[in-house]
């Protein structure tokens, strides 16, 4: 087999041999500050205050946000959700998906660059690394240096803080499912954690530590599916991080204040700072690449350089491919943002978001579900009346006890044969068996078959509200069912 290389290109130089597996070079991004870095830090602070802070809040004597999987009740401030409310989770995911579509269509991978936990935790871990080991150059030097006490102290300090943050993150994650930060001050941090809680704290902690400390850009490049499909959502009118090659090339060094054109060069002085700050280690000057997470670190650093060189900012900037190619101004580019797909995404997003909010606000304080009894279709009771049995599942969606009154309507003569008032404890769900009777004359008049009828389940009222009538509480549900008259 050896030596039978078929020439595949007309290049004169012999083709180089390359391995299909490589050890990825460690990327040591340089710290950056500027307009977009500030935005990223803002998002780091706001998302993490929310994440670390929420489990500490209490509401009505319990944790404000608690997803109690064992009891299948999900508390979000004043709201109690039952597993039957999983539609809201679906709604939330649809909202998240359409937001991703919209943001990506307008300005590329905004999510990746500013808000994704992978970016956020990497930012935090990099900041810690910077405090202990210094900036890019110092870290590269430290990597190459032999082990010494100083290196051990720097590395060890970093590891301790990383591990502490990771464990705290794991603990916070678990706190959403098991009350860890107990409401009462004296029992606070009296951790009574079972084996599963311990496992999840360590697991989530390890994931944080490994992903933010070591995997970093590898997650975006090789693991994350969103990274890849967001690239497919860009079009030529999407604002992406672009290097203005026409303005920058031919690149080369020059003295400060010297007009680039006068020395036959472009504005790029080839300082390579844009490469040094890049968390994925790419050269943005090669154009749009799948590795680019849109963090805009190169924009921040290049603007600083342009300021020093007394050249206008924006050699690297948010620009559309059309905008760069046709030399559009910023305004001309922004005008193209409101293109049909952006408008459609926005309209769908607004529609779903308003439906979502409206449905949460108008949510009934209880749920009801009627199921016909599976045992008997119908039975004949004393006096020749026909009886059908139903199970009504009542779910109390509040944290106070509720009294329900149940009645039937829509079938002349039908009435409940068994008790009709039910009291449910806070957040309780219960099956209530009910029998509905139909007098013999009414049954005869209707004839055999399944006849539609409705259950009226009203809250608190002594007297049920009839159709079209307003009751005091006016909280009533009508559940459709059928009444079977046998042959």
């Amino acid at each position: 087999m050896r030596g039978t290389v078929i020439p595949i290109a007309l290049e004169s130089e012999p083709p180089a041999l390359a391995s299909l597996y490589v050890s990825e070079a460690k990327i040591q991004p340089r710290a950056v500050s500027g307009w977009f870095a500030t935005w990223r830090w803002l998002l780091v602070w706001s998302t993490q205050l929310l994440f670390y802070g929420l489990p500490w809040l209490s509401w009505n004597g319990r944790q404000a946000v608690l997803l109690d999987i064992a009891a299948r009740r999900f508390y979000i401030f004043g709201m109690v959700l039952h597993p039957q409310d999983v539609i809201y989770l679906a709604g939330l995911l649809i909202l998240a998906a359409f937001s991703l579509f919209l943001f990506t269509a307008v300005a590329g991978r905004l999510w990746c660059g500013y808000a994704c936990p992978q970016t956020v935790y990497t930012e935090i871990f990099l900041w810690i690394e910077h405090r202990f080991e210094g900036d890019r150059q110092a870290r590269i030097k430290l990597d190459a240096a032999p082990w010494s006490l100083a290196k051990l102290v720097r590395r060890g300090g970093k590891q301790v803080v990383w591990a502490a943050i990771s464990l705290w993150t794991g603990l916070t994650f678990v706190a959403y499912f098991t009350p860890v930060f107990s409401v009462a001050a004296e029992t606070r941090l009296a951790l009574a954690l079972g084996p599963w809680e311990t496992f999840w704290i360590l697991f989530y902690g390890f994931a944080t530590y490994g992903n933010a400390g070591y995997m970093r850009e590898q997650v975006c490049k090789y693991m994350c599916p969103y990274a890849r499909f967001q690239s497919a959502m860009l079009d030529r009118d999407t604002l992406i991080i672009s290097y203005d090659a026409e303005r920058g090339e031919p690149r080369g060094s020059r003295r400060r204040g010297v007009d680039a054109a006068s020395v036959g060069k472009g504005d790029c002085i080839d300082c390579t700072l844009c490469v040094q700050v890049c968390p994925t280690g790419i050269d943005i000057r090669k154009g749009l690449q799948y590795e680019c997470i849109g963090c805009a670190a190169c924009i921040d650093v290049c603007n600083g350089v342009m300021d020093k060189m007394q050249s206008p900012r924006g050699l690297i900037r948010y620009a559309t491919q059309n905008g760069i190619a046709r030399r559009w101004s910023r305004r001309e580019m922004w005008r193209r943002v409101a293109r049909p797909r952006v408008l459609v995404y926005s309209a769908v997003l607004v529609a779903i978001a308003s439906t979502f909010v409206a449905s949460l606000v108008l949510r009934a304080p209880f749920k009801a579900d009627v199921v016909r009894d599976r045992g008997a279709l119908a039975r004949l009771v004393e006096g020749g009346a026909i009886e059908n049995v139903y199970r009504v599942q009542l779910m109390n969606a509040t944290e106070r006890a509720q009294r329900f009154h149940i009645d039937v309507e829509g079938l002349d003569g039908a009435h409940l044969a068994s008790w009709s008032d039910v009291v449910l404890a806070p957040t309780e769900a219960r099956w209530v068996p009910l029998a509905v009777q139909l007098p013999p004359q009414a049954a005869r008049a209707m004839g055999p078959g399944a006849h539609p009828m409705r259950f009226l389940i009203s809250l608190g009222a002594d007297r049920p509200a009839r159709a079209g009538e307003q009751s005091d509480a006016d909280v009533a549900r009508r559940e459709k069912s059928t009444f079977v008259v046998p042959r």
Partner: protein, 304 residues
């Protein structure tokens, strides 16, 4: 491995599994050979005129992760069943896991029931938590026949009234649930006499509860009722000791009217309540019996 009619299949599966796992490693090793690349860092392959295959090498951590999964697979099929008939060094079976789960569940449940085990039905009927558990037990185990509301249907007794075939004390109900009951009404046509006589007896039985009947027929049937009285009593009020129903009330378990009575006298009836011992624990049966008992109590005290 009763699924296999020949041990050859077991060997085939074991060999195929191990070979596939090894093939994964061989594939990785083969692909690790260096390949020539064009100067533009492409493999030189061009598809559909302009699709160029670039050289995007796999990161080494990914390769090691892959090796790790193969190592894990070997450890897994060693420890758990996976290689044909090999049972695995841990001796795990799905049946064993189910048994362990059930043992754990009944252990957890025993604690819940321990609170109620020593309490009499009267006390339990006032305990809303106990009654909620009782209702769930009833719906899961009894409602198929007796209905979710325990009011039964034709052939399946109503448990919410005060009419009991075998006695309605909590102890009797517990006994009924534990051991089950078999109610036998033999075919009495021959003993009663002619079809005319059966018709007369049926009318007499209807007259006992004051239901519409033919008085002349009933009067004639009165004499013939002697053969029924052996079980149902001279006054037709039944006998709970042998499960003979009261014929003088308005409960008609197997159907109301002359035709239904004639049919049952002619052909008899065997009705079975299956024993729940073995399906439910004594503690569960105690709670369930208390719940069933409470149903008729509620109806007595809180009836409209």
């Amino acid at each position: 491995m009763s699924d296999f009619f020949s041990s050859g299949w077991s060997i085939f599966i074991a060999v195929a599994t191990v070979a596939s796992l090894l093939a994964c490693l061989v594939l990785l090793a083969l692909a690790s050979k260096r390949k020539p690349m064009a100067s533009d860092n492409s493999t030189g392959h061009v598809f559909d005129e302009d699709l160029v295959e670039m050289n995007n090498p796999l990161p080494l951590w990914w390769v090691w992760l892959f090796v790790l999964t193969v190592v894990f697979a070997f450890a897994y099929v060693y420890a758990f069943p996976g290689l044909g008939a090999h049972a695995g060094s841990l001796g795990w079976t799905s049946r064993g896991e189910l048994d362990a789960d059930q043992a754990r569940a009944s252990q957890a449940m025993a604690k819940v029931y321990a609170v109620y085990e020593q309490q009499p039905a009267e006390a339990l009927s006032r305990d809303t938590n106990a009654m909620a558990i009782g209702q769930r037990l009833f719906i899961n185990n009894c409602s198929t026949c007796h209905g979710s509301d325990a009011r039964g249907s034709k052939g399946f007794p109503n448990l919410t009234d005060t009419d009991w075939l075998h006695g309605g004390s909590p102890e009797k109900i517990e006994e009924t649930i534990t051991l089950g009951r078999t109610g036998v009404m033999p075919s009495m046509a021959a003993a009663v006499g002619s079809a005319r006589d059966v018709h007369d007896v049926a009318n007499y039985v209807l007259s006992l509860s004051g239901d519409p009947h033919n008085p002349i027929s009933a009067a004639a049937g009165r004499k013939k009722f002697v053969v029924c009285a052996a079980c149902h009593g001279a006054d037709g009020k039944g006998n709970q000791a042998i499960g003979a129903p009261n014929l003088a009330d308005r409960t008609w378990l197997h159907g109301w009217g002359e035709d239904a009575i004639v049919d049952i006298v002619d052909h008899g009836k065997t009705n079975v309540m299956p024993a729940q011992r073995g399906r439910l624990t004594p503690a569960q049966i105690h709670l369930l019996a208390s719940y069933v008992w409470s149903l008729s109590q509620v109806r007595q005290t809180a009836s409209r």
